[in-house]
Symmetry: C2
Subunit: 367 residues, 2 copies
């Protein structure tokens, strides 16, 4: 068995120890004689798995008691629809900070369903190389909530602060955040948010699971005519089992939370590791003559590091040689080109060191 | 490692050989150095997995070329919303045959979203013990499509024929079928249908995946204002990768299709096995003095066999002793009580024999 270094932007690398344990109990979970995949979601064994996962996530993020943790399906993209359905029942407009491709998709879906939105700030003017500052974010008078993307996975652009969401008259509205590619990268003050959502396939588990963290006063702001399964109130009352949930993905997410707690030592420890990994790679890029990253220093993503080679004709050889060296999935998103190294929680520091060594060697030979 | 006999209604038993292979390649798929869970859905390796799964499903069901096969998320329950959104764009009303709890939920969701539906036939009058006959199904003049549930997983009630969907004026409308608990149980004439959908967690794979089979003239009947991800046209054009799909579930579904083709020998062979299993168990029930099943013979489900004990005080001891004998998940759905043995494809004939032996022994001792 070989395990290469996997820099995929998602579905992303999972901790090897998590996969080993999943493998060992795949056909027979704890001597019960069946796989977790084969369990009723209402069985005692699965409910215990589900509840432990939630408890560990609450513990890791220190989620306050007035927030519900929900496990659902459809990807974060389905939340681009579910969020406005859940929050615009009393009228008002969805407000957005637009910092890249994922934010743009969220805006497009709300506009598609509700006709009108307000873009409170955008980094389009600087080519999405720096996020808007707090003073640049101007909500509409009729703002119902403010949505932003904490980390743009494709652009490699990350918020270095949590925005305040206030209308011009000073009243505050719920802050909604797509944290698909940054949740669990480090500690987070959940109490600043109304809704946090994240597709699992970065720092949580396999694709097909979404984690939602919803402040409980926002369970009853929904539109009347939305698909029942979108409803945060319904999901909450049904303990995320209104219909059959993605049980195996939920179980694996629980294994990842357990790994973060007990193997890594919590989110502060994870944060320190992620900071070191990103600093090492950006340092190597900035110190080279061949590689470059265009993002303003304070907004450089710790999770997704896009970079370009000075001579794009070297892209092909770079990727080919990297793969031969066991450094996988470094090709940039098809919409932007270049390279991208995603350094999610499960990517070890050794992988980053191996990448840096390869990059230096490649530059020496081909740069 | 122990593998017990698992009669769970879903998430249900998977073939042991499928799980063994998944285990063996969980950390390193075909020497690529990463798990299928850790692959980009757009990678060459995963696209090959996805395409092979579709090809095998097409082959098994002999799906005509003018049908699209789509892999999506959210469970069959999300299709209770997605189907009317996709098919009512040109107006008209959703028509339903109501034969149990799942049909009722589908009706409720369409009514919730579109205000009015037409129930073309119902088996409520006979306590859902026999499905309506063709002559009893009376569509509305404004029917846009007819929806039915091929097999009611909870009631154990299965259609013994494929209904015709014609308005009173004789014009035909698309037939839509929830086949969550019967798809792949045997051969099927797909050409009779407009839309077939099935949650994976019965005969296909792990929970969190939905298989859709859509006739291609129905890709463009959608309402304007529905969530983008619901759209059959969008899913089809995006090769079911409009957003990140449930990659690992898709892979496992592909392994199940491969098992059906190569280990079982196709759907006719599967059909014969399923017929034998069901005949053996219903025979044992009918021949006993303790067990009973209330469904009309021709509509007895081959997949889900509910039965009651003459003395409900024996329910507890029956379940406890069955579990001790390695016969798992025989408890009936919480909404109906009693027992239920689900005999999906992955439940081997030996499991049914073991159950019958246990039932006979229990009756001798306690009946």
């Amino acid at each position: 068995m070989t395990r290469h270094h996997n820099f995929c932007a998602g579905p992303a690398a999972l901790p090897t120890v998590v996969l080993e344990r999943a493998r060992d109990e795949l056909l027979d979970y704890h001597g019960l004689g069946l796989s977790v995949m084969e369990m009723s979601h209402r069985s005692e064994a699965f409910v215990a798995i589900a509840e432990q996962a939630e408890a560990d996530l609450r513990d890791l993020l220190e989620i306050p008691d007035n927030y519900r943790v929900l496990f659902t399906q459809g990807g974060a993209t389905l939340q681009f629809a579910a969020v406005p359905y859940n929050l615009l029942g009393a009228g008002g407009r969805a407000n957005f900070v637009h910092t890249g491709i994922w934010g743009k998709k969220a805006i497009a879906e709300a506009r598609h369903l509700f006709g009108d939105v307000h873009v409170a700030a955008s980094s389009e003017g600087n080519g999405h190389s720096a996020v808007p500052r707090q003073d640049d974010i101007v909500l509409s008078e009729d703002a119902a909530y403010l949505h932003y993307t904490a980390n743009e996975t494709i652009g490699g652009l990350e918020f270095d602060y949590i925005p305040e969401a206030r209308r011009p008259d000073g009243t505050s509205v719920p802050l909604v955040c797509d944290m698909s590619s940054s949740l669990l990268a480090g500690p987070l003050d959940v109490s600043k948010f109304g809704v946090i959502y994240a597709g699992a396939q970065k720092n949580i588990g396999p694709a097909g699971l979404v984690v939602l963290i919803v402040r409980d006063d926002l369970l009853d702001q929904a539109c009347d005519h939305m698909p029942t399964l979108f409803g945060y109130r319904a999901l909450s009352e049904g303990a995320s089992m209104v219909n059959t949930p993605a049980t195996y993905s939920w179980y694996l997410a629980g294994r990842v939370f357990d790994w973060l707690k007990h193997d890594v030592g919590g989110l502060s420890a994870m944060d320190a590791i992620n900071t070191r990994k990103a600093a090492r790679l950006y340092g190597a890029i900035d110190g080279s003559g061949l590689y470059a990253n265009p993002i303003t220093l304070r907004n450089r993503s710790r999770m997704n590091v896009p970079f370009v080679l000075a001579d794009p004709r070297l892209d092909g050889p770079f990727l080919k040689e990297a793969e031969a060296a066991g450094l996988l999935n470094l090709k940039g998103h098809r919409s932007v080109g270049g390279m991208r190294a995603s350094l999610y929680n499960a990517v070890p520091e050794a992988a980053v060191e191996a990448l840096i060594d390869f990059m230096a060697d490649f530059e020496k030979r081909r740069g």
